[in-house]
Amino acid sequence: MIVADRKSLEEILEMVEDCKKILIVGCKGCVTVCNVGGVKEVEILSSSLKIARKKAGIEIEIDMHTLERQCDNEYIEQIKETVNDYDAVVSMACGVGPQFLSEMYKDQKFFPALDTTFFGGATEHGVWEERCAGCGTCIIHKYDGLCPVARCAKSLLHGPCGGSSNSACEISKDTECVWDSIVRKKMEQGRLEDLLGVTEARDWRSARDGGPRRSIREELVQGNI
């Protein structure tokens, strides 16, 4: 899923500084699963903003609405009747949400309440870790399902580098060296030969480097499915 962190209250307060009435839009997708942008978090943000503004002597009126998803125009449309009743709209979705909203509602201002961080999952309650960089050409079958592009700090295809120590990355003792895991798994399975030789350089066109990406499924576009 897409993982995000909420921005600080101070940063959000600054965005809505000139607003007297706002709408906070939550999302029931990934950000609900990672406990940062669902119904509950929308309520918490709303209360926090109201308290802070009351304390500052400039009260703010806030309405809340949590959509099924903010990455789908079908749901974005659901707020069309009321969206322009506000000075601004704060989105608690990943970075996709405020943009879909902004593209549909040209006259309104949209602010992000979240910092979208990565594609990952929860490794324990309350802890999420990156697993995928969305580079557009998956090669993890070569590494027993572990991704060096997303998880090596240098995206090395021939690791581990000279900074790998006690299974940790050189950037921090708390960061796993994924190459250490790849090598150990290969060694345990007796398939070290998979890591011998030189891998071709990546073609980064399928990643963000090739420009904004688009995925077209002809069969769906033509309405056959």
Binding site: A153, K154, S155, L156, L157, H158, G159, P160, C161, G162, G163, S164, S165, N166, S167, E170, I171, S172, C177, D180, V183, R184, M187, L192, L195, L196, G197, V198, T199, E200, A201, R202, W204
Partner: protein, 309 residues
């Protein structure tokens, strides 16, 4: 003696069967050419080539290519270090051509320390290709082709170096990674600073068993410790360093004013052992910000005069 690939002095020294002795010099944090040239003087005549570091520890310094070119102007031989952190393949190929055009004939291909270590941790890193692919690329260019297969008009014939850290983990894989670098095209290897001699002896045994020393020249990395504090610091804060407690104890066992001499003595003992160690073709002396000690170290190590080839 085999046919020369680059014709660099370092290649000729190694090719002639001499025990190589290379040095290292970090470019200044500024455009202070005078200071840089001053540091060169301590290395001139005392080493076969000098590694010019490339924004080492991710701290911004004068470009390694410019500092290498300044060294060429001084009649010395640089070993131009290049990291993959700061350049994509376009910049890499263009810099290789530029370096060759400026008279640079040796290159050391590195991934580069992560930028979080340096003085611009906010920077975006590149890592379009990694050090293994860089080695392969320098070789491809030496053979007259760009990465895309296009012909190069006057190929940059570099003597290709790579790094090896036998002390990083997992240890069992290190010799295989070295083999990969040799397969990629490395002509010579400079190892990370060695302090744990026992582990290095074991590593070299593995290297020799696999016959890697016959495919590539291996230069053992030596850094003389200035004092026990430096050893402690490196042990704790420099990634991939293996500094045995015995060495720290040894340095601490003498008066503070004598610790640098004790550090040099240990380095000299290492050089002596490397001279006789199977598979070791030379020493890479990294006297970090201690270039003025190199003449004395080289003299006491018995590696002077350097061979004229």
């Amino acid at each position: 003696m085999s046919e020369l690939k680059s014709g660099s002095n370092l290649e000729k020294v190694l090719n002639a069967g001499h025990f190589a002795f290379t040095g290292e010099c970090g470019p200044p944090k500024g455009a202070n050419v005078e200071h840089l040239v001053e540091k060169f003087k301590f290395l001139k005549g005392n080493v076969d080539a000098v590694n010019i570091t490339d924004n080492q520890t991710a701290v911004v310094r004068m470009s390694s290519m410019a500092a290498s070119a300044l060294m060429v102007q001084e009649g010395m031989e640089p070993n131009f270090q290049m990291v993959c952190r700061d350049r994509n393949r376009l910049a890499i190929m263009s810099d290789i051509l530029g370096a060759y055009a400026l008279g640079i004939r040796n290159m050391l291909c590195l991934s580069g320390d992560h930028q979080t270590f340096g003085n611009h941790p906010e920077a975006k890193n590149v890592h379009d290709i990694d050090s293994m692919q860089l080695i392969r690329l320098v070789k491809t260019m030496r053979e007259g082709k760009f990465m895309n297969g296009d012909d190069i008009d006057v190929a940059p014939k570099m003597f290709i170096g790579a790094a090896c850290n036998p002390f990083a983990d997992p240890y069992e894989f290190r010799v295989h990674r070295l083999a990969n670098k040799i397969e990629a095209g490395a002509d010579f290897i400079q190892t990370q600073c060695i302090f744990n001699m026992e582990k290095f002896r074991d590593f070299m045994k593995k290297v020799v068993d696999m016959g890697l020393h016959e495919k590539c020249y291996i230069l053992a990395g030596v850094t003389p410790m200035k004092n026990a504090g430096m050893a402690n610091f490196m042990s704790k804060f420099v990634p991939g360093m293996d500094i045995p407690d015995d060495l720290i104890k040894r340095l601490k066992s003498v008066d503070k004013k004598d610790q640098s001499e004790e550090g040099i003595k240990f380095a000299l003992e290492q050089v002596e052992e490397f001279k006789g160690m199977e598979g070791v073709a030379g020493v890479h002396m990294m006297a970090i910000e201690w270039e003025h000690m190199v003449p004395e170290i080289a003299k006491r190590a018995g590696v002077l005069p350097r061979p004229q080839v």
